[in-house]
Amino acid sequence: MFNKLCTTLLVLLALCGPAVAETTIVFATDATWPPMEFVNDQKQVVGYSIAFMTAAGKEAGFTPVFKNTAWDGIFAGLAAKKYDAVVSSVSITEERKKTMDFSEPYFTVRQALIVDKSSTAKSLADLKGQKVGGQIGTTGYFAIKAAPGVEAKSYDEVGLAMEDLNVGRIAAVVCDDPVAANYALDKYKDKLKIAAIIESGEAENYGVAVNKGNTETLALINKGIAAVKAKGLDKELKKKWIGQ
């Protein structure tokens, strides 16, 4: 009897073993940013960043869990330790570096200006006195605010800004170029167009954000990112999700 119990326990332990040995990292993501991270028709959180981190997890030996979180307050949740990391197309900026640590860059973006097909605007300077929308707390929105004479309008989700542009309440939207392409070349292809890429001088990189001093998690993520890049997996993912 005792022997049997022991065997059962051993089998159970063996079954649990691999799952326990592997670290789980909980990532927060605002899944309203296609094609980088979004919810598909099966209600799963998918996208380039998600696929990238899943691949990184396989390489570095961690299980990623993705938690769909509203962008507004995503960093407050990180500070409150509700999750271990944020992978939500977060551009690495000096301002953000003051409050959190970033992984190695895993994607490079530029800011794109989207306007109505009939518009002749070629830059933010052409839109003086008009309303331009962006998602709250994003580098795109900061670019609008920095443009003199343009009225900046902040939205909870970039999709809501696109819809307002579609019905004509605002003159333009500024957001990351893969997202801009997703909306202007796909969803609203009859109505909107990408007018220009805003040159900000420096390249803008996406990184995974973790709390300051969380070196353990950061090391694992960096290891994964490096392995994915070394194997060239990122190129496959780009082809699949972004089409370049």
Binding site: G73, E95, G137, K153, D156, L160, D164, V167, R169
Partner: protein, 262 residues
């Protein structure tokens, strides 16, 4: 203390809800007001970064909040009056239309209505953001206001209507010259309360990218990451505004009840 022969249900300990003639300084209202004012002055003074910066960032949001509130309540009163009259109308069709409106609006959450009017109807009619917010708020509150008006009109004794009719007034004149002027006294205090409720609910329009107090706060927080400090200030600003308004309304209520005591 309950007076003999009268059943009285005390809500809370009694001290928290002062009667209008309460002159005491130690009431919940005074503590809340003093606390809010002291914090709103002390925090920016002691720690200008970020508190003073937040206070500098938010003011145009306060203006927008008041604009949305005042326009919405004005429109809601008009809608409410029509709905209230419709609900007591003997005309079958008018009555049904007013009742249907109230039923539909009361059954849909305000947040959903805001999204609906802003984004769903935006596909067909191009309305500016502020106007869309005002229409949505007024549409919702008009239904509640309609019930307030209906109750107010019903509170006037039916004998008044009979007296007016017997003096040769027609239905419309009875309503306009006899019933409504008296009903106002019953209606005004709840309208005041709806005003405060609406002011607080305008924080929902921040999802429509209307730059009200909450939106401005969120914009500040998303850039500076000072979530705790920002939302503390936002909460205090709302508290201060509603405390002042609720006092004004209780004063108004007090003045109006003067007639009844004579």
């Amino acid at each position: 203390m309950p007076e003999p022969g009268i059943t009285k249900i005390d809500v809370g300990d009694g001290a928290a809800i002062p009667t209008p003639d309460d002159k005491g300084l130690v009431s919940a209202w005074w503590i809340a007001l003093t606390g809010a004012v002291v914090l709103l002055v002390l925090l920016p003074w002691l720690k200008p970064d970020p508190y003073l910066n937040i206070l500098r960032f938010v003011p145009d949001g306060i203006v927008v909040t008041f604009q949305v509130t005042v326009f919405s309540i004005t429109l809601a009163i008009v809608i409410g009056l029509l709905t209230g009259l419709g609900r007591i109308s003997r005309n079958r069709f008018v009555n049904l239309a007013a009742s249907l409106y109230v039923e539909v609006v009361r059954g849909i959450p305000l947040l959903v209505q805001l999204f609906y009017i802003y984004y769903a109807l935006g596909r067909f009619v191009r309305v500016p953001d502020m106007l869309a917010a005002v229409i949505a708020m007024a549409f919702c509150y008009g239904a509640y206001m309609g019930e307030v008006f209906r109750a107010g009109i019903k509170s006037i004794d039916h004998g008044q209507t009979e007296a007016a009719l017997s003096l040769g007034f027609n239905q419309r004149q009875t309503m306009a010259y006899v019933i409504l002027p008296q009903a106002w006294r019953t209606i005004l205090p709840p309208v005041g309360n709806e005003f405060i409720a609406l002011l607080k609910d305008t924080s929902l329009v921040s999802i429509l990218a209307v730059a009200d107090i909450l939106r401005r706060g969120r914009e500040y927080a998303s850039e500076s990451f000072n979530y705790f400090e920002t939302y503390t200030m936002i909460a205090l600003i709302y508290l201060l505004i509603t405390l002042i308004l609720s006092k004004l309304i209780s004063i108004m209520e007090h003045r109006l009840s003067h007639y009844e005591r004579r």
